[in-house]
């Protein structure tokens, strides 16, 4: 190919490429200005784990069956209970959020929907110890109204 022909072909290819970028300039912008505006997060999003409080009883729905502790592939849930029979109460419910892999198996096996995902992800800390979520933290992490409707709806259907 002659030099002139190559130059013309290169210029044509450049023109085609630039026309694509020009067209994109006039399309809607995709950038989300994050701290100011937020993307809508799906109800099923695997964010933080939480123990929502049942408005009827004023306590969480955990029945201390240890199913989530057993299924957890990372062994990051630690449950301890006190008392016997009907008076058994939770004395410890810790989730190591730094070890958790947010797989959702615990949410799936829970028979009473006591442990749920909340679509909340802004949890970075300066200290690693803060990522150990005790019972109070898990209660506090839960929103007041049930947000994980995607999962709960599917169960009840």
């Amino acid at each position: 190919m002659s030099l002139v022909g190559r130059v013309i072909r290169a210029a044509a290819a450049l023109g085609i490429g630039l026309s694509v970028t020009l067209r994109t300039m006039f399309r809607h912008k995709v950038t989300v200005k994050y701290p100011v505006e937020r993307l809508p997060v799906s109800h099923r999003f695997h964010g933080l784990l939480a123990l929502p409080i049942d408005p009827e009883t004023g306590n969480d729905r955990c029945i201390i069956c240890f199913k989530c502790e057993r299924i957890c592939p990372d062994r990051c849930i630690h449950i301890e209970a006190e008392g016997k029979g009907k008076e058994r109460v939770l004395s410890r419910f810790d989730i190591e959020m730094d070890k958790c892999c947010y797989c959702g198996l615990c949410v799936e096996v829970c028979p009473t929907e006591a442990i749920v995902f909340v679509p909340h992800y802004e949890t970075s800390t300066y200290h690693r110890g803060r990522l150990l979520y005790a019972l109070d933290d898990l209660h506090a992490a839960a929103p007041k109204e049930p947000v994980a409707t995607g999962i709960i709806k599917r169960r009840r259907a």
Binding site: V30, T31, V32, K33, Y34, P35, R38, L39, P73, D74, R75, E96, M97, D98, K99, C100, C101, Y102, C103, Y121, E122, T123, S124, T125, Y126, H127, R128, L131
Partner: protein, 206 residues
């Protein structure tokens, strides 16, 4: 557990000592200014201006280890666009002042992470992104090859949990780090460190 190399305590003498002529001007200027009446105010103002500049141009090292690196790339890409915060990825540790450890770090990789961190100029910061970098995450138990947390080899400033964290979560972590940087008494710390080093390593007379 052992990571295969000797940890050096902070402020050790692995780096070459700065010459006296290099130390003197900054440290002495800070010292004099701090002792003047009203000088502390001026110093703090200068400091906050400097800190604003440092916090607004955090250049991270493009250093992806595993899955979280993909989310880090997504954070640099069109939708989240970390350039808005002055966070521009650099390919070499010499130009970077932030290291985002994204993903699990194996024991074979740990000395290299440490060396990269040592190659970065001070002041330097580390963000541990994701469960694996924070403590080994899913690879904590029954595993012989993954380091149980990157803080065994480098000091970490901000931990971002998630597996992997959303790009927004990483951005939030970077914003947290910026807040921390803005509060730092940068000049005074710098002067004090230099003075301490001069004090300990001052050549004996005679």
């Amino acid at each position: 557990m052992s990571t295969g190399f000797v940890e050096t305590p902070a402020g050790s003498s692995t780096e070459p000592l700065p010459r006296r002529s290099q130390i003197a001007p900054i440290a002495r200027a800070v010292e004099i200014l701090d002792n003047l009446p009203g000088g502390g105010l001026i110093l703090t103002t200068i400091e906050s201006a400097l800190n604003w500049g440092r916090a607004s141009s955090l250049w991270p090292l493009t250093f992806g280890l595993a899955c979280c690196a993909i989310e880090m790339m997504a954070a640099f890409a069109s939708r989240f666009d970390l350039d808005r915060f002055g966070v521009i990825p650099r390919a070499t540790p010499r130009q970077a002042d932030l290291m985002i450890v994204a993903g699990r770090c194996s024991i074979k990789m740990a000395p290299i992470v440490r060396r990269l961190w040592e190659q970065m100029p001070e002041p330097r910061y580390v963000i541990s992104m994701g469960s694996c970098a924070t403590c080994g995450g899913p690879f904590y138990y029954d595993n012989y090859s993954i380091l149980k947390g990157i803080d065994q080899v480098v000091p970490v400033d901000v931990y971002v949990p998630g597996c992997p964290p959303r790009p927004e979560a990483l951005i939030e972590g970077i914003l947290k780090l910026q807040e921390q940087i803005k509060k730092e008494p940068f000049l005074r710390q710098h002067a004090a460190a230099l003075a301490a080093r001069r004090h300990t390593h001052a050549p004996r007379a005679g």
